[in-house]
């Protein structure tokens, strides 16, 4: 499979080479440099990551007329999580017609729930169609970015030793990017193969092997049925069972695809219907978890149809309200578990002794390979350790008590910086692309406000002044109080341990409302929630050259705000 993918990629590359001629070759040669970032380059915007968030940001930037930006990608291809996760059976839980950009319709989706390869190819095509390739620097992992309060810009250092400065940073690294592997005693002594679902080793042949899968989350329930027919014996370690709903997956017929191509309105209608249904579900999750009992009975019946063994049924029945942990969709998970070569261990993995795995309840299993389906660092995003704010402390330090951001996007102490899919933006039931696009509206408005505030005034001698916007701590607090208040009644806080909750049990990942509401609250950047930082007139020039003895503007407070608002209004009227 890996070889096939490689071949396909190679032929794709060849096609590009052929089609794009000159421009493409130039890009390639630049991409082949250690990490494609020259020393001392300055850009207006640096986007980190080239998954849905990063590519979407790039498209929206170009639409807003901003072309002075780079997209930094640590891998050698776009796709983000859809590039990394190549495990067998990998697919999306949201119908493809909703799980795609509104501005890049794809009438050709092959299935209701398309697989990883189709989603990855869709993102490749987005990168080509929107002319994003010249902006992307591959093999360019950001090591550190720090805010320079004097020059009012971010300095980014990359793993290859490159350095660049940017006025504005969009961190689109995503919550599902850094694999989380639990610290299991004795794992280093294990002789067999070990890998995480997001780093699937396609060269390792599982046929006839004894395989352990750790975890029963969204990745695992897709892996298990995909590898079960091949492996000799499959042992599944489960700490907590998940609610699994039937998956209404089917091939999208040629007729539908033809119709979607010829009459785009039908595609738009399809998306609208998918979206509306999910919007209507939200209030049950967020306000009336007691209504979800019916859904539980549905999921229960779904399980009982495939699993006849009462003992297995008992193990697979969750004891928490459906929706509290992520609801999983699968038609073949339960039938796979009922197969004779699968054993379900109703307990977490405690330790590894040689090639024997020992569960917390003492049961043992000897295996040849361990697959960790243990998810990602979601509530402790590793990128936060690499972002240094105005006070020299990292974002991770600021967030040591849990992530906190304003409108899911910006963090106090981190001017001109925003996170795509930041704190409290996740969804339990709908497409994250909707959230991403809402945040991109916020990003475009952020840049627009920076432009307006930085426009040269009468005293500036026609030179634009550098401006930075930083969320006020009060505004961040107020926003999070509001979000947590809404969260209190929701199903996510109904008493279960999930990856939505951080170490303190606070839900810092889910947006407790509809995507429409989120779109509304991120429609524009409200200046009253921000401090304006300015370089003094004539201090720094646009490229942050030497000689800028800038200081922070007059102490944050009323005066700064009034000026900001006044000059904003002036910009509007003019």
């Amino acid at each position: 499979m890996a070889a096939e993918r490689e071949r396909e990629r190679a032929s794709e590359d060849q096609r590009y080479e052929h089609e794009d001629g000159r421009g493409r070759t130039e890009q390639r040669s630049r991409a082949q440099q250690p990490d494609g970032v020259g020393g001392g380059e300055h850009v207006r915007v640096a986007v980190i990551g080239s998954g849905f968030g990063g590519l979407g940001a790039a498209v929206r930037l170009r639409r807003a007329g901003v072309t002075d930006f780079v997209v930094l990608e640590r891998r050698d291809a776009v796709g983000g999580t859809w590039h990394d996760n190549t495990y067998p059976g990998c697919a999306c839980d949201v119908p493809s017609h909703l799980y795609s950009f509104s501005f890049a319709p794809n009438p050709e989706w092959p299935r209701n729930f398309s697989g990883q390869e189709h989603i990855r190819r869709y993102l490749e095509r987005v990168a080509d169609t929107f002319g994003l390739r010249p902006h992307i620097r591959f093999n360019c992992e950001v090591e550190l970015m720090s805010w320079d309060p004097e020059e009012l810009h971010w300095t980014l250092t990359t793993a290859g030793g490159g350095r660049l400065t940017a006025d504005f940073v969009v961190s689109a690294t995503g919550p599902l990017s850094d694999a989380k592997i639990p610290d299991i005693p004795g794992l280093e002594g294990f002789q067999g193969k070990v890998f995480h679902t997001s780093r699937w080793d396609h060269d390792f042949d599982l046929r006839g092997k004894r395989v352990a899968v750790i975890g029963t989350g969204a990745s695992s329930i897709q892996v298990v049925p995909a590898i079960q027919p091949e492996v000799g014996k499959l042992t599944l370690f489960q700490r907590t069972p998940a609610w699994v709903m039937p998956r209404a997956d089917r091939k999208i017929t040629g007729l539908e695809r033809w119709l979607h191509t010829k009459v785009p309105a039908t595609r738009a209608l399809r998306r609208r219907v998918l979206w509306t249904v999910r919007e209507l579900q939200v209030s049950a999750f967020a306000k009336h978890p007691d209504l979800l009992g019916t859904v539980e009975r549905l999921a229960s019946a779904h399980m009982k149809r495939a699993v006849k063994d009462p003992e297995l049924r008992r193990k697979l029945t969750p004891d928490y309200r459906i929706g509290c942990k992520r609801i999983l969709l699968s038609n073949d998970y339960y039938p796979a578990l009922a197969q004779p070569n699968v054993e379900l261990v109703d307990s977490g993995l405690r330790e590894v002794r040689g090639n024997t795995l020992v569960a917390s309840d003492g049961s043992e299993a000897e295996v040849d390979a361990i697959v960790f389906g243990t998810g990602f660092h979601v509530t402790d995003m590793p990128i936060a350790q690499r972002v240094k704010g105005a006070d020299g402390r990292t974002l991770a330090e600021h967030w040591s008590d849990g992530m906190q951001a304003l409108r899911g996007s910006t963090a106090s102490g981190f001017p001109n910086f925003m996170t795509i899919i930041g704190p409290n933006t996740g969804l339990g039931n709908s497409s994250m692309i909707l959230i991403i696009e809402a945040q991109l509206n916020y990003m475009v408005d952020f840049l627009r406000k920076l432009d307006i505030l930085g426009a040269p005034g009468p005293a500036d001698g026609g030179r634009a002044r550098k401006v930075a916007l930083e969320p006020r701590p009060e505004a961040v607090r107020a926003w999070n109080a509001y979000v947590q208040d809404r969260m209190s009644r929701s199903v996510w806080n109904s008493g279960c341990d999930s990856w939505y909750l951080d170490a303190n049990g606070r839900n810092t990942t889910v947006w407790p409302g509809t995507t429409g509401e989120f779109r509304n609250v991120t429609r524009e950047l409200r200046l009253e929630e921000y401090e304006v930082r300015r370089a003094p007139a004539g201090g720094t020039d646009g490229t942050g050259g030497p000689g800028g003895s800038a200081a922070r503007s007059a102490a944050p407070g009323r005066a700064g705000r009034a000026t900001a608002t006044a000059s904003f209004l002036a910009g509007e009227d003019g």
Binding site: E19, D20, G21, R22, G23, R24, V59, L61, R62, R63, A64, G65, V66, T67, D68, F103, A104, P105, D128, T129, F130, G131, R133, P134, R448, D451, I452, A455, P456, G462, A464, G574
Partner: protein, 394 residues
């Protein structure tokens, strides 16, 4: 032009009496030889690859040794749009480079939903690099979406290195739908959404050619526009595929490049028609005020959106003036020095700073005073000037 002056009745039937009077006056003011509206014969054709691999079709007219003018056409037009201007310029010893914007004319279409201002800038930069001699600088002129192209390319290396001076005709960089007065609807609450719909419409043009002509003449051209001019415009618009029209229309609807204008650091002239309903002169005044080096703001009475079609000689004169002042080899070829002073020459007299001139742009009463800055236009100025544009200030 002569046609317009000779037969004012040939203009759109909706023109009121005073407008016609102004129109014919404008026609007379600009009067001269009948310009040819047929596409001129290029000396060289070339295909340019844009950053994303799309092929763009470009033409070069005139002698390769002459100083160059690059022309960028607007929405739903093509290189043919510049025909009369090209004739004027090449006759006066300038070389002209014109190209078909993406999706228009003979250029590749790409994906209309992926169109963006950045794409416009990419395409222009590719053409500047490919069509000009190494290291050569040129005067770059854009009309409507072509003017937006220049603004979108502000700060790009190619435009900074190649652009000696710029001309923006019928330009608008933001709030296009909100400020346009194309649809004769009084209430902005109805007019603005309706205009946005028109911008983004994929609907085919009405089959009745006369209807399209009428609508076009009313919406895009001044009351004095002659039959030949309207014919050419109608031909161009009809030739534009409707999905390309909708694709770029969506870009124009969302256009907001105001922040980029201050980055156009080269000497720039701005041209607007006072009867322009598509991009009323508020746009031009706003842009002129934001430009760091605005040399002239020309407002031509009774002229609509299609300035290069409606007054090709005057537009060519402005371009020639810019070429003479900012390109290394001034125009010394046949006839170049013998052409009588026209609008451009008059306007080359340093006017008051545009920023001052435009400070009261919302006040229509100020217009005649400002028009007096441009001698050639005084004759066309009338107290009954269209002031519709001044009302829409937001």
């Amino acid at each position: 032009m002569a046609a317009a002056a000779a037969a004012p009745g040939a203009g759109p039937a909706s023109t009121s009496a005073p407008r016609t009077a102004i129109g014919s006056a404008a026609g007379l003011a600009a009067g001269g030889a009948v310009p040819g509206y047929a596409p001129p014969r290029p000396t060289r054709e070339l295909t340019v690859r844009s950053a994303d691999g799309i092929r763009l079709f470009a033409e070069v007219y005139g002698d390769e040794a002459d100083p160059a003018v690059v022309l960028v056409h607007g929405w739903t037009c093509s290189t043919a749009f510049w025909a009369p201007v090209v004739r004027e310029l090449t006759a006066h010893g300038l070389r002209v480079v014109a190209y078909d914007q993406r999706g228009h004319g003979r250029s590749g279409t790409g994906t209309p939903y992926a169109y963006s201002p950045a794409v416009l800038a990419d395409d222009l930069c590719a053409v500047l690099d490919a069509a000009l001699h190494p290291g050569e600088r040129a005067v770059v002129g854009g009309h409507s979406m072509g003017a937006a192209t220049l603004v979108a390319a502000a700060g790009r290396r190619q435009l900074t290195e190649r652009g000696a001076a710029l001309l923006l005709c019928g330009a608008g960089v933001r709030s296009l739908a909100a400020r346009a007065r194309v649809l004769p609807l009084r209430s902005p609450r109805i007019r603005i959404p309706a205009q946005r719909l028109v911008l983004r419409s994929r609907a085919p043009l009405p089959p009745a050619a006369r209807l399209t002509r009428r609508a076009l003449a009313r919406g895009a051209m001044g009351p004095a526009a002659g039959r030949e001019q309207i014919d050419l415009a109608a031909r161009l618009v009809r030739a534009c595929p409707r999905w390309v029209r909708a694709g770029w229309g969506a870009v124009l609807d969302e256009l907001d490049l105001a922040a980029k204008v201050p980055h156009l650091t080269m000497p720039t002239a701005v041209v607007a028609g006072t009867a322009d309903l598509l991009t009323p002169p508020v746009h031009a005044r706003e842009i002129a005020r934001a430009l760091p080096d605005c040399r002239d703001l020309h407002e031509w009475r009774g002229i609509g959106h299609m300035t290069p079609l409606e007054r090709p000689e005057a537009v060519a004169d402005v371009l020639r003036g810019l070429a003479r002042d900012h390109l290394p080899h001034p125009d010394t070829r046949n006839g170049g020095r013998t052409v009588p002073a026209t609008a451009a020459d008059g306007a080359a007299v340093p006017a008051q700073h545009p920023a001052e001139a435009a400070q009261d742009w919302a006040d229509p009463a100020r217009e005649p005073a400002q028009a007096a800055q441009h001698p050639a236009e005084v004759r066309a100025a009338g107290p009954t000037a269209e002031t519709a544009d001044g009302e829409e200030t937001l």
